[in-house]
Amino acid sequence: MVPATSTRTEAAREPVREEATDVVGLGRRRAAAFVAPALVLIVVFLVFPALWTLYLGVTDYRLTGLAATHPHFTGVRNYTDVLADGRFHNSLWLTLEFVGGSAVLGQTVLGFSVAWVMRERPAAVRRTVEALVLLAWILPGSVVAFLWLALLDRDGGTLNAMLGTPGTAWLLDHPMACIVVFNVWRGTAFSMMLYTAALGNVPPSHLETAKLAGASTWQTLRDAVLPKIRGHALTSLLLVSLWTFNDFTPFLITAGGPENRSEVMSAYVYRTALGEGRLGFGAAISLVMLLVNLLIAFAYLRALRRRRA
């Protein structure tokens, strides 16, 4: 069952640990049987779809009609079509704005600022702020999407009532700004928690020294705090970028519209593949998304390893 050579080298390398770890006497065969059910589900419903994307991308698969039953091999046409599609360029650019604006800038800056300012606030204030920020993060996506629709509503929205700008259609006039601000609101909690924990690791003596030396807040942050939290900052940046890139909630707020002006990748792939039924074309976009995810994930794992090293 198991190739003998690999077993022997494995055993030769760590003979002691091998004996010591399997205390229950499970044995390799049974251990493999324990891993199998999980592995089968992962392979069928996670790995296979990703590999299938490669095949689907080279066919003219459609949701309905002739190409639904007898898809044809079309080579790299879907990929060249995607790369030449103006809507794809538009979507790529909007996604960059969305991820850069809401995750990299918005969530990180706001999350860090909240963590930094809250260090010196009374416990009651701190707990209230943290609870609200967390609530925005844990409420179901469908609910928060509707809350923002209500907030930004053109005719009766709370925002218009507060600002005294009745009739301003925020979602039609500034769809990208809306989903960027929304996502800052939605996801700041993670950065806040992470930087709160990271700031706890900065030795108080460093901050004291900076204070005694008369350093400004900016200088303190740059010289005493940043070197200590740089590793955390990089990994969290990559993680929130990955989540934001794959977030489907913007679709619930603007549905990619109006006129594709907020059509980030997640909305673009849904609308082309399932809205318009062009599955082959959609699969080609999917592959682009998977590759972007792969890049971010590799960068993340590398950063993580360097931090541990």
Binding site: T21, G27, L151, L252, N293
Partner: protein, 271 residues
């Protein structure tokens, strides 16, 4: 002078943050109890009638039931399968174990529902899993299992093997040891993974939206978007009460987790 300015700046900042985060949520607190709910936040003329609207709607409660089915089904599969796999991977040195774990971590973060919605939809169609709860449960389990295995393996690695050793010395079979020694010891880890899975599935919109056509089978996250009046306007009484009812379990679960396991969620709790 400088400290005074700094205090004012900090207070202003705190107020702005509070306002920013509270503003969208005010509607969820006021509208459900408003006799005449509007899209705008207003002081409610207090009533509980809106909850009767909720009870009368044929889809509302059924959708919550569907959410429970999906969450419980996925949690059962994820907890059992992940526990078995995590235990074996933690205690037995299977060949290629480290590569496998590394790949799992990598794949689960790369292959998201959003990026892979096209092949997942087609796969479900081919396997006749469209419009079935089982299909959604299996797809979600496949996506959540790698992270669950990771969390549980960390947990098992951190528990000493001495209990298991003792049980073996006293002649317990491997399976007996698992049932009576290992499961009780790693129970907090199992609970954590279970709650995490329920939270993930409870809030998920995309997979049920993609894979379920019949509104009778749709979970709460999807059915919300069908609550319109005959005039085509959103039925605010229904949406607001339903949102509140749908959100309460998540908040309760969060409170439970933060009390039981300390205030912080695990870093990877949300994908």
């Amino acid at each position: 002078m400088r400290t005074a300015l700094r205090r004012i700046a900090a207070t202003t900042f705190v107020s702005l943050v509070l306002a920013f985060f509270a503003l969208p949520m005010l509607w969820l607190a006021s509208a459900p109890f408003d006799a005449n709910p509007k899209i705008q936040v207003s002081l409610p003329g207090f009533t509980l009638d809106n909850f009767r609207v909720l009870l009368d709607d044929p889809y509302a409660l059924r959708s919550l039931e569907n959410s429970v089915i999906l969450a419980a089904g996925t949690a059962a599969i994820v907890v059992v399968f992940a526990a078995l796999a995590a235990y074996a991977l933690s205690r037995v040195r299977l060949p290629g174990r480290d590569v496998l774990l590394y790949l799992l971590l990598l794949l689960s973060s790369i292959i998201t529902g959003t990026a892979a919605m096209v092949p997942i939809f087609l796969l479900a169609t081919q396997l006749h899993l469209v419009d079935s709860h089982l299909g959604v449960v299996l797809v979600l389990s496949g996506g959540l299992l790698p992270t669950a295995i990771f969390l549980l393996k960390d947990f098992t690695d951190a528990t000493p093997a001495s209990y298991e050793e003792a049980a073996r010395v006293f002649g317990a079979s491997p399976l007996q040891t698992l049932r009576h020694v290992v499961v009780p010891v790693i129970r907090p880890g199992l609970a954590m993974v279970g709650i995490w899975t329920v939270a993930q599935v409870w809030g998920d919109f995309l997979m049920p939206f993609l894979l379920l056509r019949d509104p009778d089978k749709a979970p709460a996250s999807v059915i919300m978007y069908t609550f319109y009046t005959e005039g085509g306007q959103p039925d605010l009484a229904l949406i607001s009460t339903f949102s509140l009812l749908y959100s309460v379990p998540v908040v309760l679960m969060y409170l439970l987790v933060s009390r039981r396991y300390g205030f912080r969620f695990h870093g990877g709790i949300k994908r």
